[in-house]
Amino acid sequence: MSNPLSRFAGWIGDWAGQGEVADGTEILFRMQVSSSVEGNALCFHMESWVGQMQLLHGLRLILAPCPDGTLQCMGFSTRFGMVNLTPTPDDEDVLALAGPATGGMQISFSLIQQEENTLIATGMARPQDAPPGFAASGGTHGILRRVAPWRPPGS
């Protein structure tokens, strides 16, 4: 995997957990992180569910280096449309992204590694023309833990 992505390579795999959205609705959260574009990109596929079968929000992101070596992120949100996000400076164990969506919203999304197998995911959206101090709504917050595939006992 190319260098700028290497600090996130340890996140490759399946993650699941619970969270809630701004109105307090509890959600189930699943995320799959995989290598993409011949190891030149990481794909983050996220789905949040209400109840057992209702997809509340789907987000699929491709994080990859530009030819100048800087990381950029493109993706699609079932709620906000196409998104183009830029990593914002943060700690080594944090992926923080922000940028516009074609639906007119400004999106911010972050993954914070809390422990080796625990990630905290947060997402927020506000109108792109919102005045300073605007209280963003529609936030999502979840705690994800690495999901190990089932293995036969003793293996």
Binding site: S36, V37, E38, N40, A41, C43, H45, E47, L55, G58, R60, I62, A64, C66, P67, Q72, M74, G75, F76, T78, G81, M82, V83, N84, T102
Partner: protein, 155 residues
């Protein structure tokens, strides 16, 4: 099988794997594999594309594109290609059986892509245009045959 949505209906005949000889705008020849797959109950279609050298097996071009529908019913594509980075393509008018997209690349260049299904062949053409100054690169043409892996075979 993907749920049929207005987006998936545009790509229904293309979903799956395709392979065929390809020549990049650099003149280098290779074998192109494309894979169309849908996500989020048919709200997103992703295209993964790789071109590799048929002698050495080396991949020398790889990219991925995310397709969705805008409110006006036209397609929009978020595209990443390792050789030139990120861009967003928008559907343009063309013949009814042609899917044509156009967008701006970094550095003032533009990229046009068209897809057309001709009997059992998928015809892909693309061109990089230099903008106001500079020379347009040759239009590339690839004719692809369906190459669907049997159910259960890994991708």
């Amino acid at each position: 099988m993907a749920m049929t949505t207005p987006l998936v209906s545009r790509f229904q005949s293309m979903l799956g794997y395709w392979r065929g000889p390809n020549q990049l705008e650099t003149g280098r020849h290779g074998l192109l594999e494309m894979h169309f797959h849908s996500h989020f109950e048919g709200e997103l279609v992703q295209l993964d594309a790789y071109t590799w050298d048929t002698v050495t097996g080396e991949t020398f071009s790889a990219g991925t594109g995310l397709f969705a529908l805008k409110h006006d019913g036209r397609l929009i594509e978020n595209l990443y290609v390792g050789r030139f980075g990120f861009c967003m393509l928008h559907e343009t008018d063309d013949e009814p059986d042609v899917l044509a997209l156009l967008g701006d690349l970094p550095g003032g260049r533009t990229m046009s892509v068209s897809l057309r299904l001709e009997d059992d062949e998928l015809l892909l053409t693309s061109q990089l245009k230099a903008g106001v100054v500079g020379k347009d690169l040759p239009r590339t043409v690839a004719r692809l045959k369906r190459y669907d892996r049997p159910p259960g075979e890994g991708a």
